[in-house]
Amino acid sequence: MKRTPSRSSWLALLSVAALMTAGALAADTVDSVPPSDRKIIERAQKQWAFQPIDRSIAPPPTDPGSDSPAAHPIDRFLRSVLRAKGLSPSPPAAPRDQIRRLYFSLIGLPPSPEATEAFVQDPSEERYGRMVDRLLNQPQYGERWARHWLDLARYTESTGFEYDRLRDNAWPYRDYVIRSFNRDKPYDRFMREQIAGDVLEPVTRDGILGSSLLVCGAYDQAGNSQANLTQRAITREEELEDLISVVGQTFLGLTLNCARCHDHKFDPITLTDYYRIKSVFEGIQHGERPVETPAETKARETQIAALKRDIEAAEDQSRRLYQRGWSLANALSHPTLRPAGPAPLVRWSFDHPSLSALEGTLEGGAFLRDGQLQLPSPGAYFQSPLLARDLREKTLEAWVSLSDLQQRGGAAISIESADGTKFDAIVFGEQQPRKWTAGSTGLERTRNLDGPEETALPGTRIHLAAVYHADNSIALYRNGEPYGKPYTPAKPLATFHAGDTRVVLGLRHHGGGSPWLTGSIHQAAVHDRALSAEEVAASFRAAGLAIPESEVLAALTPTQRAEFAAALDRAQKAREQLANLSKPKSIAYAGRRTQPPPTQRLKRGDVKAPDGVVTPGALSALTETLGDLDLPADASEADRRIRFARWLTDPRHPLPARVIVNRVWHHHFGQGLVSTPSDFGAGGTPPTHPELLDWLAARFMADGWSLKALHRLIVTSAAFRQSSDFQAAAAAIDADNQWLWRFQPRRLEAETLRDAMLFVSGRLNPQVGGPSFRPFTTTDFNATFYHPFDKDEPEFNRRTVYRMNVNSGKDPMLDAFDCPDPSIKTPRRATTTTPLQALGLMNGSFTLRQAKLLADRAAAPDPNDPATGVRHAYRLALGRSPSPDELARAVSAVRERGLSSVCWVLLNSTEFLYVR
């Protein structure tokens, strides 16, 4: 059976697509749609974007009557349409306009005066072509085009939602995009990496980084950790919808997300399709992961295991020896006292005037005095190195004096994961004033206890112990007596992993609201087992007696002392090596992977209305062309994405190639052939030049999915190089210039405007890649708040694509110039003109500084020669010399107010802000 309509018939469909309205295609009721549902296929046949790309299309012949034959294939397509509409193309733009346009389009920066003059002298085809090649090979090309891509990817460097915390390791994805563009990575591979690069053999670092696309948007941390399970499930569904919509809109130009609650209103996408695609991505979770290939991981893990064994052996030895010395010293110096308490895994006593790295570090104003760790004010705490052993069952102990009893929420001792998101702690006054609790992550293992309110006066030492038993029960003790009743929380004990766990004293956990304890700590200990009530009592009675290390060691034999020192040294060295190894060399916010249970389709998208299991799949409407993913419901997480990535990049796929060539066209001409670049469905607009679109898509694939080849093709067309002059007669026929009778002038985007100012002032720092610059301070009040500043330092003078792109800390000037909210997928930016923009450019310290720098750069050495400075400033900022009138006006302005005032005018001028 022939399923593909001929070209003429699919072109005819365009008018149908344009006329379709919501009412014309009411949603079908589908309870169990097989993947090859007839109705859906029929609907797909009615839509142009679902038809195969017609590879037989050739450019129309050049018009024989034309006096300047357009050899360029793009122009042949465009001109045949212009002719039919009674329009003609504009003559070539002036060389100055051409070169400025080309530079901004390809690298997002203006040409230097020298480059401009050279091209004006010799505006030949050859020179233009060489210039195109040179620009495409500059790193600034990748920076420019990565910004466009990041708009689509809803790339953000903070979590958004309530906390909006910084996401320190998001930037490797930004660099991945820049690198991919600069190396001209074939676009099909670029797509595959962003869907499944972390699992496609052979796995590469770039592959892992590419898959960050799936998680580089906002993340509702509070919603994901709340107690209410239904709400938590809804939060997760929203998160997956965001992921599915970024995949659908970016690569397919389809709003897959519209089928979450019902079949798509316009497009052949069923509710079942949505949940089958959801199944493909259901294993993706937000979070960081190491950027290392499986082979690298394996080698590292082997080394880590060996080091852990070494550390354990050395520590066992040193602890045995020290315990022996302590008992002897105790017997010697305190012969009447009771025997020592149970030996802990680690003990900190603060009777040395200094700490070794082995013990930990003093932070935020903590210091040692009177044999105690002093925590004078909020912010001060002590932090241990990472522990080398897994801990689940455990006992925490601390001997503490509180500076006051009004304080709330600080901890005497806490064991936490390295990122602070998991902890168990002995906490004072958090939920109830003056009471102790076993604090924990999100209060999961915490209960208010029926213990007495604390009455100990400042300076009085109290002993506290929290015992976490293997049966998940938790008991708290104060001064050796039970504090409240032991309890078993609903949540089981947390496991704290070797190499990812540390102990902090005086701090509840990193990243909490008001986690500080003020007072002092005499000793603290962690046991790798649950102590009995008797042992806790013994510990209370026995310890707290600080015996100086010198006395302990003195009680040992010289050989034992040497063994002790050697064991310590061994452990220390191994620990240092482990610290280096335990963190992978690089970390990126590329998401975590889990194996999900079989995916349920949800009726009306309601998490409480599961409606049968679906298998991982793709679009049923394209099954006949591209087949199904052929996976069972319990397919491995990796296989799902691998198959989907292959399906997406199949050269027979009608969508991805069309979508990307249209995006590139959109950025060069300001408007795509399809003016809704992320919506190729019936809700979007049909292409103005369908044949050109298909020809470009076919050529793009034939060129090995090379974006650079595509750019070269487009920017060498006469259409790109034609004048932007307005013509009233043409505008009367085509006011929107959709047939491209001229080049459409356009304003610089926010980032380009900032970059261009830095470039012309000579201040742009061209450093490529690396962590983002942060032109703001932050304050934390449970959530993170951003306070932007403007500084003239090299790191802040980098291109704007390297600015830390946080949600609620937007730069006011970028914001005014339509820089999109990072959490929004933005295929097409708005262009507004507002008084707030004018105020920012008029009075903002950034513009004023760049104006001054431009003046310093342009000024002639001779102060009596203002004209030279003016000419130079014009050439730098606008790429041309001033006219005699302009020169006269500017020279008199320089005499009155200085050259920087004229430069201020130039940077505020419409001519500077617009590309013609």
Binding site: E162, C258, D736, N737, L839, V905, S909
Partner: protein, 481 residues
Amino acid sequence: MSGNRPLPAILSRRHFLSGTTGGLGAVALAWLMRADQARSQSATLAGSALTPLFAPKAKRVIQVFCCGGVSHLDTFDHKPELDRLHGKSMEGKGENLGFFGQPGKLMRSVYPFRQHGQSGTWVSSLFPHLAKCADDLCFIHSMFAKSNNHTPATFQMNSGFTLNGFPSMGAWLSYGLGTENENLPAFVVLPDPRGLPAGGSINWTSGFLPANHQGVPFRTQSAEAIADLRPPDGIPGTAREAELRMLAEVNRDFAQAHPGDSAFTARLRSYELAARMQTSIPEATGFEGESEAIRRLYGIDEPGNKGFARNCLMARRLLERGVRFVQIFNGGSFGSPRINWDGHENLKENHDTQAATMDQPVAALIQDLKQRGMLEDTLFLWSTEFGRSPATQGIDSPGRDHHPTAFTCFMAGAGIRPGVHYGASDEIGYFVAENKVTVPDYHATVLHLLGIDHERLTFYHNGVQRRLTDVHGEAIRDILA
């Protein structure tokens, strides 16, 4: 009106305007055009998408948003049944809806209630000043939020969606109605002096609407309400005037050399407006000419309101000068010590502190608008993101957890029936018992009062004709005057 469709809708308007070119500057021009036409009222607007669909009752909106979740049970939703059940377990309400889990026993209101005004409105002793306004207010006791989590719930009240990136109501109003005074922003936000709400500027974003519609947060405690309003020190006034003259000439020359591109003219215009804002904003945010009686009414000089009273008076001045939407936040983000209404630990302690900032200034604002006749065409909104649970949070705790399935907001002013109580929660204020009002219903009502059919105020974004009300919402007819 609908926006962002690249073809016919915009085309005709653009033709109508200046017979000019496509793409570039279209939005800019639309912005300027709206400002012009709002000024000269309907004549030139006949037939345009901007013509209100029905006669608007309200010309402008003021919203007081109380961050953190104000307890309906301890303020406006009187539940005698809770007195009876105090200390008993909560039965038959299904899954716990709280954020932290572990609910304790039912707890009666921590404040006594008394009836006020001719309407006999029950208000607790927490709000003595607002209680005096009771006959002017219209209470909705059956509000329903989608999320039990602050920020998604706050986003929903502000933008209709629980997610980041959707335009806030103020941005929609700016987009739909433009401004009455082009020398001031159409949408002004006055954050609590103690701090921004969680999510900060996400709460007043223009989302996918053009950037000129986003809320402009005023630095209400600073000498300069917005950044970059004045030239920095060191540039003498005369020099700046000369610079601006030269810039205008340069830009005019350019626009004349390249006729037909309206954006070039729009840029010239934007500098003129900027220059006027330099005087109009300080004039609006300064309190010169405000009488001593007014300052006392709001309690401007009383430290207890922590600067919040200033914002209320500033809001009135901005509304007077034609700002379309002023949003005042009472309360900031989450943390300890609490600076919002999130009374998890001890509800009374928390609400006592917050009410001391809010009650008098907001009551003063309502009275002041009323005495100036501005309540006639100003819609007043008082809202919060959700209520609080009838049971305590945790055993024997005096605090209440979040509660999304029934809470109270009130409205007043233009087109609203005063002294009315709409909807009801159940016997303990847990679920809505009658006339459920969802957030889209609430937004539809606001738009209706401004003469906008909420189903027709749309903007195309990534495949969807987006609305403030998503695909839901119905204006609440019973509260309309």
